[in-house]
């Protein structure tokens, strides 16, 4: 790290060095990099320390793949499923990126568990690291929240039903339960408002909170410094330190490479499937949450009647409290795990309990008739994923219905519609006068302007209309009557279209007045 001295010795230097010098004078980037890379690690670099940066790496991977998914995904009940099917079945690399994102969430949970276990077993949270631990505990909850909110977004069968169950669990909370469920769902039932809420939480709120807490976590980590191996003093390290760069950086990088290689292999060989679109009236579907929620899922089976509050709220609440308050409960500076029997036992009980609950839940699902139903659901999901992409076509029915309705109503309107199309009005004002980028909507124009004034304006557009490209309409009085009758029959405007009435000043244009 004696670059600066070397540079001053050769002021000419290479171009890259000169650019870096220029930057350094203005930003202090060299000093910053040095501070980041020269962090001393008591006792030296180790593979055991890779999990934290591994989590940061997965977070970045999730951001990158998530932003990619958002490029084609739309969060509405009508279109979410189709847009995701488009991503997985049509767009080049779409199935791969979605699989990376989906498997990435599982990888996040696994590496999070490893990070927790490493920190706990090494007692690295001890010695003035309470806030560091707390910020990590908050991050763990946020990661679980990302898993929960992301699961709904595909809006397929399992997404819908798993979220229906998940939001019902919130309803078990005493007093405010029903209110909580309604906040999560945006109402009583699961629908497009729920999807919007989960989308906003998954894409904006939770990621923003995560970035804030990651920053705090890293800052607090650097403030306290690495705790080093298990026999090190966590407050005043005595072991010979090794700098973060290069060995630990290389370990971290290789771990990131391992994660990417594993995820990419999985995503390539076993792409994540997409099930048929959510059908709320399906009474046979058996929802199963993501694997990391299975212990909780299984746990809920054992509680009924008045004990529910104890099982669903109190016990998980106590475990969560114990998790959050770990550095306040296990306070001594003693780090060796065999000299901390009570915390070790508590964590061992909870972890093995969760693992066995997860296994039990898998075993329960092997039994008939559940096994058949789940196998059938998986078959349906595979079949749907393999089927060719079907585009979203709601517009089709709507347009057809509108056309028939008009032709059935009034021959004058029919004639007006033909004129509207043939004279090219529809080219700018859109089919059914709904407006386009070129010209405003004409829907409702007959309620805003009297017929004679409208006819006058069509014959002789005002300056503002002309500036927008509106030509004079050359029509006989009969044709004009038909055209206005048609305009009067139009439905609702497209939501984003401007109204033509805003282009017309309140008083009749002098030119328009003399036209008829």
């Amino acid at each position: 790290m004696d670059n600066s001295q070397k540079n001053s010795a050769h002021p000419g230097g290479r171009l890259a060095t000169r650019v870096l010098d220029w930057m350094d004078v203005r930003t202090g980037v060299r000093g910053l990099t040095r501070k980041v890379l020269d962090e001393p690690i008591p006792g030296g670099a180790r593979w055991a320390y890779v999990f934290g940066s591994g989590l940061l790496f997965i977070f970045l991977l999730q951001v990158v793949t998530g932003v990619s998914l958002a490029l084609y995904y739309t969060p509405t009940v009508e279109t979410a499923h189709t847009s995701l099917a488009y991503i997985t079945k049509q767009v080049a690399g779409g199935a791969f990126l979605r699989s990376l994102h989906s498997y990435g969430s599982s990888a996040m949970i696994i590496v999070l568990a490893l990070h927790f276990l490493q920190t706990f077993v090494y007692g690295s949270f001890k010695g003035r690291r309470e806030l560091l631990w707390l910020s990590g505990a908050v991050l763990s909850l946020l990661v679980l929240g990302m898993g929960f909110t992301g699961y709904l977004l595909p809006w397929d069968q399992k997404a819908y039903f798993a979220t229906a169950v998940g939001t019902n669990i919130a309803g078990q909370v005493p007093l405010v339960g029903n209110f909580l469920t309604r906040i999560l769902r945006g109402g009583e039932t699961l629908g497009t408002l729920t999807l919007s809420r989960f989308y906003v939480a998954h894409v904006f709120l939770i990621p923003a909170a995560m970035i804030a807490f990651i920053a705090a976590h890293v800052f607090l980590f650097r403030k306290a410094g690495p705790a080093g191996p298990i026999h090190e003093d966590p407050v005043a390290p005595k072991l010979h330190p090794e700098r973060f760069y290069p060995r630990q950086v290389l370990f971290d990088m290789l771990f990131a490479l391992l994660i990417v290689a594993g995820l990419a292999a999985l995503a390539y060989l076993r792409p994540v499937t997409l099930g048929p679109i959510a059908n709320p009236s399906d009474s046979h579907f058996l929802p199963r949450p993501e694997w990391y929620y299975l212990p909780m899922f299984q746990w809920l089976k054992y509680w009924e009647g008045p004990g529910v509050v104890l099982g669903v709220i109190v016990i998980p609440g106590l475990i969560a409290a114990g998790f959050f308050l770990m550095p306040f409960l296990d306070r001594r500076l003693e780090r060796k795990i065999w000299r901390r029997p009570i915390p070790a036992l508590a964590v061992a009980i909870v972890v093995s309990g969760m693992v066995s609950l997860g296994i039990k839940s898998q075993m329960d699902d092997q039994r008939p008739p559940v096994a058949q139903q789940i196998a059938q659901q998986q078959e349906e999901e595979k079949a749907y994923s393999a089927a060719p992409f079907e585009p979203y076509t709601a517009g089709k029915g709507a347009v057809a219905a509108k056309t028939t309705a008009i032709s059935a109503v009034d021959p004058l309107v029919r004639k007006g519609k033909d004129l509207f199309t043939d004279r090219g009005c529809s080219a700018c004002h859109g089919d059914n006068g709904s407006g386009s980028a070129l010209a405003p909507t004409l829907v409702g124009i007959t309620t805003k302007l009297p017929k004679d004034r409208l006819a006058a304006l069509l014959h002789n557009p005002n300056a503002k209309m002309k500036a927008g490209g509106m030509p004079e309409v050359d029509a006989t009085p009969d044709e004009m009557e038909a055209l206005i009758a048609y305009l009067g029959s139009l439905g609702k405007p497209a939501p984003d279209a401007r109204s033509a009435a805003t282009a017309i000043p309140p008083r009749i244009h002098p030119d328009a007045g003399g036209a008829e």
């Binding site: 990619s68 049509q90 690399g93 779409g94 700098r243 290069p246 060995r247 979203y392 004279r423 309409v473």
Partner: protein
């Protein structure tokens, strides 16, 4: 970098120092290139599919032919002046399929063959209309005029109305509706 050798002489003649120094440089550049290789590998694995993903709508240009029915051929057999037909055009818009009404003109070309003309003015893209009393197509925007067979008569358009590809299948006249570049003298297909 685990142990830094403190040279007692602090000068360049110290052979041990020189050896140590060059060893450190080799070691450092080895680590740096290892890191660079790892980062490059990760960026490739994630970046390549992302690039294809983002560019998909741009590169997926080769569209399949899409024929839209205009009507029975018999309907047009005795046609002498152009008629307007509104066809239901099915178009793909990303993951949506949009059906829109699209008027087209059926007329006879100069050699008497049936042809389907696009109503989009080759000048700046307004919709032209057939004027029975004047026996010509007139563009309402800038006054371009075209003969019944689509040939340009007068006005700013640089070419005549664009004939569309047609085929007759099972007695039905079918058309492939396409868009052409505006304001150029020759017919250039827009993909």
């Amino acid at each position: 970098m685990t142990q830094e050798y403190n040279c007692p002489l602090e000068n360049k003649e110290c052979a041990v120092c020189l050896a140590q120094h060059s060893a450190q440089i080799t070691r450092r550049s080895f680590f740096a290139s290892m890191l660079g290789a790892c980062a490059g590998l990760i960026a490739t694995v994630v970046g390549t599919p992302m690039l294809r993903y983002v560019l998909y709508p741009v590169l997926a240009g080769a569209k399949t032919e899409k024929w839209t029915e205009v009507g029975d051929v018999t309907e047009f057999e005795k046609l002498d002046t152009p008629v307007t037909k509104t066809i239901s055009l099915v178009q793909r818009d990303g993951w949506r399929e949009v059906v829109s009404d699209q008027p087209v003109f059926i007329s006879r070309s100069s050699n008497g063959m049936l042809q389907v003309l696009s109503p989009i003015c080759p000048h700046l893209g307004c919709s032209v209309a057939w004027h029975e009393n004047q026996n010509k197509f007139v563009c309402p925007c800038h006054g371009g005029q075209f003969a019944a067979d689509g040939k340009r008569l007068s006005g700013p358009p640089p070419r005549g109305l664009d004939p569309l590809d047609v085929q007759i299948k099972d007695g039905k006249l079918e058309v492939q509706f396409q868009y052409f570049r505006s304001n150029v003298p020759d017919r250039q297909l827009l993909s």
